[in-house]
Subunit: 337 residues, 2 copies
Amino acid sequence: MKPLSIKDIAKKANVSITTVSFILNGKAEKMRISQEMILKVEKIIQELGFKPNQVARSLRTGTTKTIGLIVEDISNPFFAAIARLIEDKAYKHGYKIIYSSTENDLEKAKGLIRMFKTRQVDGYIIVPVTGLEEEIQDLLNNNTPVVVFDRSLPGLDVNSVLVDCAAGTYAAVESLIKQGKKNIAFVTVDVDVQQIKDRYAGYMNALKDSGIKASKKLHQLIPFSSTPDETAGLLKNFFTKNAEIDAVLFATNYLAVRGLFCFKELNKTLNGDFKVISYDDHDIFKLHSPEISAVDQPIDEIAENVISLILKDLAADHTLEKAPFNQVLLKSRLISR
Amino acid sequence: MKPLSIKDIAKKANVSITTVSFILNGKAEKMRISQEMILKVEKIIQELGFKPNQVARSLRTGTTKTIGLIVEDISNPFFAAIARLIEDKAYKHGYKIIYSSTENDLEKAKGLIRMFKTRQVDGYIIVPVTGLEEEIQDLLNNNTPVVVFDRSLPGLDVNSVLVDCAAGTYAAVESLIKQGKKNIAFVTVDVDVQQIKDRYAGYMNALKDSGIKASKKLHQLIPFSSTPDETAGLLKNFFTKNAEIDAVLFATNYLAVRGLFCFKELNKTLNGDFKVISYDDHDIFKLHSPEISAVDQPIDEIAENVISLILKDLAADHTLEKAPFNQVLLKSRLISR
């Protein structure tokens, strides 16, 4: 059966479609429709069990109670855990989350913002990709609530929830130096955002402050687009070639997991002469023998701040004034295992 | 600046809004609007740089090139990995995926389907929850493409991609019995779907076929809604109380991971007198010492079949005939480590 339309209601009530529309839109009084007529139409609406078309309603009210969440990769446990927490918290406030991954692909990220615009989400939570500045600025210019997290883009005045990455890797390298490590390697990903650069800066500064000369040889970059096999090949080659390495800091947890697979294959004994630390924690590091140290990012706090900022922004009346933006910088914590 | 509306175009062209709308909708000729008028309005549209409202366009064309993916819990590595694969494959075919988690909550699942309807997704990929039959049947009645995976709902004629769970747990328990295990425990979750019951049935049948009497005592149910701490408490109690257990099969990988945390706390030596198998694999099991055996579900094949079925259904002309539904049953594989 075809769903009932406004036309059916109008016919049954013997009034114009416009009248029904005004009543459905809550504009009846403004449009001077009589109280009697309003009651009559509302009764028919109830009798016929009419449900206004949701898209039409969205067009009318302008809100969809939906927030678009754009992350790097939903299969990464860091993003998956945050997505789940954000979803839980948003749901309690009557918002649904729809998410999608950019895989650090700018064109895909742009496409996702276009899609979410089409779907008319009320606000955006974005793990940005370099090059997305214009799209985000457009959203902001239209007074659309936006919160970015995990990383920022230079020159954008936008709500953000970030972690002090440089302090995290600094503390990790400092602890390795205190344990007498001299040839500390740094394995990172080629994602061009400040937060990944900061992780490198923290590593470099910790070496410098201890008077250790950094060696380019001990700095390995893994393309984000690498398959697990390609990553395994690069890591195996790197650690075999540089036998002097006595400790390694991985800039992300997924790289550290790939590293553990590599060390297993190479039969490398860990945490004695060769110490491993991951930036970002993972259940694997807690269950591994030996346990693997990690710089823990405050996942709960990140999710909590992201959702509070977006809800605050969604509740604000942007017609009155431009909302001030908030930048939250959280601390990471070195967990020595 | 307010975006241009159809009204602005109509005013500038000195025609009615309806005329502009017909031209935008490609209905001008049908509505006998003159060629001259069409050209005039199109020129104005071009001059003013008018972009038709995307929602309005969706209403018109009826497609959004978007597929809604509803999983149990996006932070579970099984669903996260499949979501990522589905997203990759869909993207290559010009479709975007938007996803959300039900957390096995029926009301939330219903709400998500309503939301995706509002967002006018072209098709649905659903990990169903018991009680969702009517909503899915409604979609099917409207010729909306639907594929369910991981589990099915009785009485629904719908495209599905499932794994033969009972065969998987049967093989796991059989291998434990061959290793001389006598008191094999089964730890499962209270999700009321056939596939979880099948995992139990496989366990029971393997015991029966070997003439081992099943004991209720060795069957532990963990509520899906339990926190990690609650799960830890239940597991610790279960394994402490039943010291005779010499092997355990976990019905899901996330329960097995919680189990590993529990055994670590209890200082239990694994894979000698006490053997652990997980239904569903996980990186943790490969990196754990000792390595943990698992019944591996074919994640790639699941994603591949799901996306082929939905694309086939999206491409079909449902006005001609009702599409036949396909049910794909995949095999799992015991990986003994």
